[in-house]
Symmetry: C2
Subunit: 364 residues, 2 copies
Amino acid sequence: MKKLIIAALCALNGAFCLAQAPAQYNVPCVEYPMVDDQGRATFQLMAPNAQSVQADICDKKYPMTRDEKGLWTVTTDPLVVGFHYYFLIVDGVSVVDPGVNTFFGCGKMCGGIEIPESKEEAAYYTYDPNIAHGQVRECHYYSNEEKQMRRCFVYTPAEYENGKGKYPVLYLQHGMGEDERGWSQQGKMADIMDNLIASGKATPMIVVMDNGNCSHSFGQKKGESFADFGKSFAPVLLNDVIPYIEKTFRVKTDRESRAMAGLSWGGHQTYDIAAPNIDKFAYIGTFSGAMMNAQPILNNPDWNKKCKVLFLGTGTEEDLGSAGIHKQFVDKGIKHVWYESKGTAHEWLTWRRCFHQFVPLIFK
Amino acid sequence: MKKLIIAALCALNGAFCLAQAPAQYNVPCVEYPMVDDQGRATFQLMAPNAQSVQADICDKKYPMTRDEKGLWTVTTDPLVVGFHYYFLIVDGVSVVDPGVNTFFGCGKMCGGIEIPESKEEAAYYTYDPNIAHGQVRECHYYSNEEKQMRRCFVYTPAEYENGKGKYPVLYLQHGMGEDERGWSQQGKMADIMDNLIASGKATPMIVVMDNGNCSHSFGQKKGESFADFGKSFAPVLLNDVIPYIEKTFRVKTDRESRAMAGLSWGGHQTYDIAAPNIDKFAYIGTFSGAMMNAQPILNNPDWNKKCKVLFLGTGTEEDLGSAGIHKQFVDKGIKHVWYESKGTAHEWLTWRRCFHQFVPLIFK
């Protein structure tokens, strides 16, 4: 009955509707944060002894208001759809909202909130009970480059289990301040893959998500130079990860069965690693790629023959340089696919969309 | 040189040695918390505008001291070895230390710290680069009981991949306020299994870790009765999880190839589910089992014939009732294995040790 009344009010009231529901990543039994159908988030925190509390989301700090019991509350402006990291600031200290699950970003554990798109728009990254589902496997391996244990996550398509065939492999990287958990948690990559494979749009493939050694922001590590930031991942990927994957999983090992893609700094790493090693990777994708060096591509006279797909994607509400490189490629006649995600910024919804565009193009 | 001086000071100074190192779960580039060789943790938080900051660990609140820049610090008493959840309290608000990775416990995301044992004591749950390693797979499945998607984690032994054989299955449950992530994260179950299998002590098996529907503390959910808390997991396990696992993985499906174990409330659930269904499970383990009803065992005249291993473990620094049930079993002649973990409380080191004792006994 309550739902009916809310629905009726919504229908009557349009933009002023207050219908709201607990957000997607709240821990069990916790109501707040809530999100309303205008994309506004309402945060709450019980803090009777605090002097000030703010919500810090989408580059804006919202002062929260205290009631007589010490419960602080604020409702934000309508927020951009998709996934956002956020924090609460308690007397100047930026902390995770105790009401939500956490996600590794910004070099530390962050709160996360999803401002939902419509069911139709979100369908491609939503779990579908009527199709077969792959698995995301946590794998630990020993790195000879680093002389220590490392961790990666490996997506295997539904048909891999109990099948016999060999599969192509996409190496897929996170951004600066994130780690190997990002794509399967914030990125919803398994649901995107499952849906694409079930609909016949994507070739079943294995996706490897490793740690790009840029799990903090540049400059946090003493003595770190900009040129070297995250550079140590190249030998790890080429000499440790790829051999580990090819030894452990049923995969094809020719270059036309190997792709690399990454978001933001992972896009930078994709150019740094895959472009000079085009004999090893036939497909390359960058999603909001940051600080990319296009010279190995521009200077290679055989590029268009060797690279089967070169993909550049970006959100329309950001510019980390992809548009400039796109223009260089057009000018120099470098074949590529250019994709713009409408209305999204340097955030995970842009990267889910880029991934969803890129994956159907490869291993065809 | 610095290390040498510290080592020399340690050798001279015994109990007053200050040698300390960043704790195991710190995020990249973060030094604090640190742990010294007496098991004392030192916490730090930059909070110039806070009026009071405390560290909340092992049932004790340690007031932190502010320096002139607003950096708050405290060193704890020597702490019990093993894994502890902890929080920092900023002006009365309990929050996760921004310097560490998070773990789901207490019905929400918590900070976590490991007070290390000696290398020898910790060897059984430590990654060994010289042995083969299994995988922990995140699997999503549709629950007909709940009409929604659920998640479980499934450990497969190293030899499963690229093998052909069928494996027995252990269903392994977390405690109250925890979830399906607990055993692979806090519990280090994959390293324990890998080490036991590699040394020939355990039969290679599949381990399924699902959500026991007690991911919060009792009473948090409106209208929840004590008797019903977490009870909805029984039909999910029997009607959804087991069929999903037996359809998806290469597993043996006879009762002598099926075990169930759980810690704390998961021990309660193990008794509730496996004991009345002894035709489905031949091995039962409880680790610090809470509020267990032993009647289905005591009242079954065929129990000793049917149950191949009944294991009860507990820490010596806790009592949730396992000792009383152990006594009942002795009095009534119920065959069982009784294990006490020396010096550990109602915490994950007790459960790692119980798991390490229990696993070699089953599927033999």
